[in-house]
C-alpha cells in the first residue's frame, strides 16, 4: 500500500481489505478495549511502532499513530505520508508539506480532506505522526 493512501483508511472498518492489507505486515496486535475511553478500541502493533484506534460501535478507524524509533524502541518502518522522514526537523517538514493549518509548541497539523495529518515533535525531530478523523 502506498503511504499516501494511509489517510484514506480513516473512517473505514477495521475488517475491510485495505485495512487488513496495511496491518497484515505488522504482525499480531495487542487489542485493548478498556484502555482510555470505552468508545474506543486500541490495536497496538508495538514492535512496528503502529497503533490504530477504532470506534467501539462500528470498529471504523478513528486514528492511526505512526511512532518514530526512539530510545531503543522500534518505530514504523513503512513509507510516511507526504514523503516525510522521521529524521526531518520541523522546518524540513513544513517545507515538504506546506505551512500548517494549526500549530502548537509540540505539533503541526494539516487538514487533508479525508483526514487530518498531525506531526508531533520532540527536540525538533518527528516523534510521532498521527492520521486522524477529527
Amino acid at each position: 500500500m502506498s503511504a499516501l493512501r494511509l489517510g484514506e483508511l480513516v473512517g473505514k472498518p477495521y475488517g475491510v481489505e485495505e485495512v487488513q492489507e496495511f496491518v497484515a505486515r505488522l504482525g499480531e496486535p495487542v487489542v485493548d478495549e478498556e484502555l482510555g475511553a470505552p468508545e474506543k478500541i486500541y490495536y497496538m502493533f508495538e514492535s512496528h511502532g503502529v497503533s490504530l484506534v477504532t470506534d467501539s460501535e462500528t470498529n471504523c478507524i478513528r486514528t492511526i499513530f505512526l511512532k518514530a524509533p526512539r530510545q531503543g524502541k522500534p518505530g514504523y518502518f513503512g513509507k510516511l505520508p507526504g514523503g516525510l522522514d522521521f529524521s526531518m526537523t520541523r522546518e524540513q517538514v513544513r517545507k515538504a508539506l506546506r505551512e500548517p493549518d494549526d500549530s502548537k509548541s509540540y505539533y503541526d497539523a494539516w487538514e487533508e480532506g479525508s483526514h487530518i495529518l498531525r506531526v508531533e515533535y520532540s527536540d525538533d525531530k518527528i516523534k510521532m505522526i498521527v492520521v486522524m478523523g477529527g
Binding site: 478513528r62 494549526d102 486522524m132 477529527g134
Partner: protein
Amino acid sequence: MEAVDRIRLQLLLPGSPWEWKQKLLDVMEQGPLGAPTHWGEAEGLRKPYQRETLVRFGDGARRGDDSPVPVLMRTTPPRYNASWSMSDSVPGWLCIDSRMRLRPEDPCLFFELAKRLATVLPVEYGLVDIQFQEAASELLLKEGNLQHPRGYVRWGPDTLFARTFFGPRLVRLMGEASLWGCGAVVHRLDNGAVMLDLLQEPWLQGAAVLKQRQQQVFSQLVRTGIFSRSEAGWTKPGERWVPPSGAEP
C-alpha cells in the same frame, strides 16, 4: 485586529437537536458556512457527506444514555466540526467547533450561523465563544469551557459569552427589562429568543476588551438570580433559578 484561534457555538435545547433535524440540516447545508463535506457516526470518523445516509443513521440510532454522537464536518474553509446529543435527556445540546484555517472573514460567519440556528431551533440557552491567538488564559470568557448541560440544569447558566442566547423561558425568568437595560447589544429573534452581544461585532474586539465587557454586563445581569454562583468553593444554583421542565438534575 487580534487573530482568532478558535470559535465554538453551543445551543441547549428542550430535547435532542435531531428532533428538528430538517431545520438543523437545512441551515448547515445552506447557511453562511457552506455545506458539510463529511459526516461520521462518532468523533474521529469521516465519510463523504450524504444527507440521506446521515438521516438514515440518525433515525435508527439508539436514544438512551449510550446514544451515538454523530458529527458533521466541513474540511475546507470555513472549516468546522458539529456534533449533537441524540439521547432524549434534557437539555439536548448542539456544539460547533472551528479551530483550524480560520480566515479573517470566517468569525463573522460563525456568529451569523449561530443566529440562524437559534432562530429556527427552540433554543433554551446558547453561546458563541471566541478565543484569540496568544491571549492570556485569564482573558478566556469561561476558562475555555462551554456550558455544561448537566450543570445548567442543576445550577443555571454560568456566565455570558461573546454572544449569548436566552430562550423565551429564560427571558421570562430573568425579566425582560433586565436584558434591555444591561448595557449590551441586545436583539430579539423571530422565535422570541434574545441574542445578547457583549459589544457590536464581537469578533472584531480583542480578548481584553471582551473580558472587561463580560464582567461589566454580567455584574448587571447577575441580579436576575438565574446564574450559578459559588459559595465557599461550592457551586450553587442562582437564587431564582428554575430548571427547564423535563430535566433531571
